[in-house]
């Protein structure tokens, strides 16, 4: 078999027209260029890996190189051992493989982001030392105090009353927690809200205390936040966003600009998804504990409805940190 192409000598860039004769029986290649002819055994050259419709090259051990013309595949003519590369080349030309790859990518991403990442975060959160959570809690509190929190304006008696209630609603399974729950009062210009910090500190704003009309409503709020602490939600969301960041960087190591932005916004959507899942988990925890303590879960719905009236209608959209109010009320009903 004769194949035309071009030839460069070892260490020189000048090219010559050349052809090779392939002899599959004695496993030899004869290279002919102008007046010279050279014979090589199959073991004396390396054949470039197949890729798309790139022309194939023979890299001879003595440094010479032969490149076939475009559209002529040396792989079909030289019977050498097939390698992994040629299997991938086989895949890259099949439509069915492409359809499979698209489906596989979507399934794999779904599995990874919706199941694997939360599971990893949950597993890792159990290995984090409590001292770390304490440090993170103190740091978060001091930053929040600087940014948007100020001294509570509630009276001392009111604070004592609420603190007593808080202690009485702590569920049995959280009583011996290595990171004990505590409550602190703050005023915030952003209105009614409550936060849980990684060290078990729960911050409640004056507006939220005033919003609750009875003890059971306050208990519902506390139990929701305690649910966050029980599941170590803050730590888990810190870990899962780190895992997300690293995996996006790892997967897109070779893309720039707009693809990066696209992936980053995609991972932001997943972060919000985890956040909504955590809120639902905390709601379920609260309803179950309310029932254990013989308090009416309807109180939780009442306080949720009042909160929803204060804030702009947030529908159950992809872009919110909390599930929509209707969904949260439904969760309460279903857990009952």
């Amino acid at each position: 078999m004769r194949v035309n192409g071009e030839f460069t000598r070892a260490g020189k860039a000048t090219k010559y027209a050349a052809y090779i004769m392939i002899d599959n029986v004695s496993r030899k290649v004869i290279l002919v260029s102008d007046d010279t002819s050279m014979t090589y055994l199959f073991s004396e050259f390396r054949l470039s890996e197949q890729l798309g419709s790139l022309p194939d090259s023979l890299f001879f051990d003595d440094g010479h190189c032969f490149t076939s013309s475009r559209g002529v595949s040396l792989h079909n003519m030289i019977t050498a051992k097939q390698k992994l590369g040629s299997f991938i080349h086989f895949l890259e030309r099949r439509r069915i493989a492409v359809i499979g790859a698209v489906a596989g990518i979507i399934i794999a991403l779904y599995f990874y982001f919706l199941i694997a990442v939360p599971a990893i975060a949950s597993a890792v959160s159990h290995t984090i030392p409590d001292d770390f959570s304490r440090g993170l809690g103190e740091y978060t509190l001091s930053t929040a105090d600087q940014r948007f929190l100020s001294e509570s304006r509630l009276s001392a008696e009111k604070q004592q009353m609420v603190t007593a209630l808080f202690r009485s609603v702590i569920p049995e399974k959280l009583k011996n927690d290595p990171l004990p729950l505590r409550i602190i009062f703050r005023d915030s210009e952003q209105g009614a809200n409550a936060f849980t910090l990684p060290d078990g500190t729960i911050i409640i704003t004056d507006d939220l205390v005033n919003l609750a009309e009875n003890e059971d409503e306050l208990a519902a709020i506390f139990l929701h936040e305690m649910g966050h602490h029980y599941h170590r939600h803050v730590l888990r969301s810190v870990i899962s966003s780190s895992v997300l960041m690293v995996s996006v960087l790892w997967l897109t190591g070779d893309v720039h600009g707009m693809e990066d932005t696209l992936m980053a916004s995609g991972s932001a959507l997943f972060t919000l998804h985890y956040s909504r899942d955590m809120e639902t988990g905390a709601d379920e925890f609260a309803v179950r504990e309310l029932k254990n303590q013989n308090r009416d879960p309807e109180n939780m719905k009442a306080v949720l409805i009042r909160l929803s009236a204060l804030q702009e209608n947030n529908s159950n959209s992809l872009l919110s940190t909390h599930p929509g109010w209707e969904n949260r009320l439904k969760t309460v009903d279903e857990t009952k």
Binding site: A13, L51, G52, L54, S57, F59, R70, A108
Partner: protein
Amino acid sequence: MDTEKPILSDIYIEKENIRQPVYNIRFHGRSGEYFKIWIVNLFLTIVTLGIYSAWATVRKRRYFYGNTEIDNSHFDYHARPVNLLLSRIIAAVFIGLYVIASLIHPILQITCLLILCLLAPYFILRSWRFNAVMTSFRNIRFNYHCHFGRGYRAILLLPLGLLAVLVVCVIAVGVGVSVVRLAYNDPYFASSAVTSGMIQLGLILVGTFFILSVQAKSVYELFFNHLAFGQKKFSVQLSYKKFIKIYSISVLIFLPFVYFGGMILSRLMTTVMLSNYYHADIIKSVFIVNMVSIYLIYLFGIMLSSAFIRVAVLKYVSANVALGDMLRFRSNITFPSYFLLIITNFLIVIFTVGFGVPLAQIRHVRYMAEHTRVIGDISLTTISAHGETKGVAVEDELVDAFDIGITL
């Protein structure tokens, strides 16, 4: 430059007109073919949790290099995926350390960032070298000679020094104005605070672009003046003046967008403030529409001015790069056609949720290839290989693994 040696440059032009052949760069990549390669790459990368990405990168680069032809000879890329994998692991360890540091303490995070900044020029030069040595044309490897002193000067010291000067200037303006106010003891001099603020803001804007243009010039020189094909060296002579001019024009292009965006923003802020004052409700959708339009205006402005910089710099640099005295280069890309390409690529990627990335990449490379000319004797009879790929020791391979993916 040219005026210094008029006789030589005359001869050169004559030579170029009469004897120098001109070659087009041809790109044979097809988006359908590449899409399949890309999607299989992506799938295997995800399934192997990223390990395959090293093999994927080699296949991708081989596809683009191998399909780029000058005078019927194509480029080739020879990196071994295992080396790339090593560099990915090193990079991942660095990122992991950084993430852990940022979780533990902000000071540790900043220290980590500083160390990375200090190491950056070293990594950049090594990755240039790695990719040059792994790239070949007619089986002759490119080469990049690392001069770390010059690298640190161009990438780190020069911009940081200028930044320090800028900061001192900005502070000096503030202090100067205050001193003047105190000296005159004039209570009606209140407007001077606003004036000094405006001067400082202007200084920061102009100064930043000045630093960027100076850095760009020195980085391009750093790259091309130490790049070689075989043993033959590339060379380039660039002028600060030209770079400053290019960057100034791009600032002028960007300014109207800043103005319009700022106008919408200030109107929106006034509305929000008034509605707060009168306890009126502001419709959320109005707010969102306004914010989105501000974002789009800035995005469009940034794309427009950065496309201008890229076109102007590419034309200027490629006209001044030479391979020995054998080859010169020309780029005839134009701002409108390049901007159209960027915008359509952007839309393709957005509306295909990312699956159009291979099409966008093929379009970009084809455009670049079709608009570049190589002038000179392509028979390359005087080119011979450098021996620096032979006998690579294990530790050299480790160091050569620094493929961080930084491109000009």
